[in-house]
């Protein structure tokens, strides 16, 4: 049957875009994180939604599992073919379909990379930008919205899934559906005022369908930008800083970072506040507002703005940021994974302490930080642990640290982001029974043959 299926796939996308080669299957079996490898039986690279539709019809008819991959950069192994079967690599689906300048949205195929969209907008619409995650630019738009990613405009616009204005999705049986305004109108301007069906596909780890097109909000790209970095030594003060700074609605992005390397950073908590402006006067006006907002803390000498010379600011204004990527190789050997935990902003101190305790217990190289999401209703708190991939004991140690972090994050009231399978199970364990039941019913409704990413969102 597999041979027939492979031939069927070749008929759909062309022979050169289907592979069963061992090398390819190995490459697709893993990512940069600590999760063990699972090889797909076949890898296929479709070019458009119709091809995805045909692939899913074929898989559904043959009850063959299907997994989906963007750039494979979640680091939590979400694209791994746990039950074998077909792995769909979305990267050929990278067209920019429409930019609506006045309504500030773009419609793209889901496999387009963040970098390609960024470069296109810079060249053709320099006054517009989309929110870039701090992932390598190869990360895809579809993959990132599907996992509720966040990025350098998240204070302004929330999670990247909040910035979605509409989706095109291929269901398990091959039907192509649309969510949001584009299901009624030619314009992909909003999810409202319709029943928000996009919620059936965002955060579901591709168990309900494969996102093939995304309508995404764009934001003004100001010609000038600045970063101010506040520093303190006490996490409770940092909570206060975050509360004050987010009370002032000038930032595009607010990030905290805490790391023991380099040595001068150890023990200090930093908060980067990044904002844009059309003119220098506006930039200074915003800087002064920010100062006034934390003035009482500065007067107490418990915080202050780091004196950054112009050339020093560049690293903080780079989009995407490169500091985490630098950290990724701190142990050499190229292993790096992080638990991104969604937590309410008021849990900052607990989340920070949790990270320090675990890093100390497991003796792992760590980098902690957070990105404030949507006016500070929540934050993505990240616990990054570097490890040497060539050292299995080191990998195991990092894996244990991550697992423990996930569990403790749930204990304090947070939820692991883009959770690895063990963490997915922990989340489901803690979840309200009726909610969980509804999730399973919806999955069954949309995927009766259980072919979509089996192994994910399962107890």
């Amino acid at each position: 049957m597999m041979q027939e299926l492979i031939q069927g796939l070749k008929d759909i996308v062309g022979g050169e875009y289907v592979s069963t080669h061992l090398e390819d299957r190995f490459f697709y079996s893993r990512d940069g994180g600590t999760m063990e490898s699972f090889e797909p039986d076949v890898v296929v690279l479709p070019q458009d939604s119709n091809q995805v539709s045909k692939i899913l019809s074929l898989a559904n008819k043959n009850k063959v599992p299907v997994y989906c991959m963007g750039a494979g950069l979640t680091l939590s192994g979400l694209h791994r073919a746990i039950s074998g079967g077909i792995l769909i690599d979305m990267k050929r689906m990278d067209k920019i379909i429409e930019v609506n300048e006045r309504s500030r949205y773009v419609v793209v195929e889901a496999g387009i990379s963040q970098g390609k969209l960024q470069a296109y907008l810079k060249k053709n619409y320099p006054h517009l930008k989309h929110s870039m995650p701090d992932a390598p630019p190869a990360a895809t738009i579809g993959g990132n919205v599907a996992i509720h990613g966040s990025g350098h405009l998240s204070f302004l616009g929330g999670f990247h899934s909040d910035m979605v204005t509409g989706l095109e999705v291929v269901l398990a049986d091959g039907r192509i559906i649309r969510t949001g305004s584009c299901s009624v109108s030619n314009y992909w301007f909003a999810k409202a005022p319709l029943p928000d069906l996009s919620g059936l596909f965002l955060g579901w780890f591709a168990t309900t369908g494969i996102i093939t097109k995304v309508g995404l909000k764009l934001y003004p790209a100001h010609p000038l930008s600045d970063v101010r970095v506040l520093i303190c030594e006490d996490p409770k003060i940092m909570e206060e800083i975050i509360f004050k700074v987010t009370d002032l609605n000038i930032a595009e992005d607010i990030i905290t970072w805490m790391t023991p390397k380099p040595d001068w950073a150890r023990g200090f908590l930093h908060c980067n506040v990044i904002y844009g402006a059309k003119t220098k006067d506006e930039l200074i006006f915003k800087r002064d507002l920010l100062f006034e907002q934390v003035r009482d803390l500065i007067d107490k000498k418990v915080t202050g703005f780091l004196p950054l010379l112009p050339f020093m600011k560049k690293r903080f204004l780079d989009v995407p940021g490169k500091d985490l990527v630098r950290f990724a190789d701190v142990r050499k050997g190229g292993g790096f994974e992080y638990v991104g935990a969604m937590i309410p902003t008021n849990l900052f101190s607990d989340a920070y302490k949790l990270g320090l305790d675990i890093a100390q217990k497991h003796k792992v190289a760590y980098s902690l930080g957070s990105r404030i999401i949507g006016n500070s209703h929540s934050m993505m708190f990240f616990y990054a642990y570097a490890f040497n991939r060539a050292d299995l004991a080191d990998v195991k140690n990092a894996q244990n640290a991550l697992y423990e972090t996930n569990k403790k994050v749930i204990d304090i009231g947070g939820i692991p982001w883009k959770a690895e399978i063990p963490a997915q199970k922990e989340i489901l364990k803690k979840m309200d029974k009726n909610t969980k039941g509804l999730i399973f019913e919806l999955k069954k409704l949309l995927d009766p043959n259980h072919i979509m990413s089996p192994g994910n969102l399962e107890e």
Binding site: I231, C232, E233, D263, W264, A265, R266, F268, I284, R287, D288, F291, I298, K301, V302, T303, G304, F305, L306, P307, L309, P310, F311
Partner: protein, 341 residues
Amino acid sequence: MYKLNYDPLICKGCKTIDCLVKCQYQDFKDINRAREEKNKILNGEYSKVLDDCRTCYGCEEYCPNNNHPFYQIVELQEKLNIKNVPDPIFKQQLRMMGPKNRIKTQSLKPPIIDMCLFPQLIDNIKGKLYEGASIIWGGDIFCNIMWLHCANMSVILDRLPKMIQNIYEYYIKQSETDEIICFHDECYGAFTQLAPAYGIDVPFKPVHIFEYISKKLDELKLHIKPLNQKIAYQRPCSNRLCSDMDEKLDEIFHKIGAIRVKRTYDKNTPLCCGSVLRIQQKDREADEIQRENISDMKGTGARIAVFNCPMCMMTLGEEVAAQGLFPLHVSDLVRHALGEI
């Protein structure tokens, strides 16, 4: 421990109180008020001067008796715990700029150029001016007198003697020279003014960058093409610890045919580049001073702004350029006259 060598009786008997009356950042037109505040300082009591001091080093230069009024202020600020920089910033900078114990013994060929903690300007050390030069820099030889801007003298007195010793032990002892060319005024001021004020021994010969360049220009006389350019000069705070060296700059300018334009904020009344005010969280004041400073530079008709202090250059360079002046380090100005740029 090291103790400041000054005579309080000289200050008590001072008729002019130049240290306060001439201050550019505090208003002491009334000499009686100045005397009142000075007496408080001499008695080790709180004075508003301690809070209002912008740490420009100016009073060290204004004092006709060389009685170290600025160091008196810094010592008292520290003693009374008057902080002009937020704690976490001070602590982090302290660690960032602390000794790294990475220094290694080297036999160096002269001239030995001490770049202090400014590797960013290493590219300036090239051409005929610096032919064959050896460069040293880093946290293990950092003069540390920047802590004067942070109301802290004890860190300087703790670190500076070790740094001096490092330079001697690791570099000078096995090299062919006992001269260290100080690229930054701060180092020169630390070795020749602050160290003697506290009785710290300096077992090598510090040479100011201006002295070195001026002498070198005599050797390179035949290569000089007079610039005939008007130059606005940014005199840094640390040069006020070695005022005599400012005359050396005039000598250099004369030799390369550059015209140091007369401006309000040069010589005895230079303005802070702004970096110190920013670390002290006084951004608005820094903006104003920078605006005033650059506008003064522009008003002279100069096309080039010349810097000696790397920190001034890194702080003001971009804005100066945005205002249409060409920012240059003094080394590069000289290289320009030597036809290398």
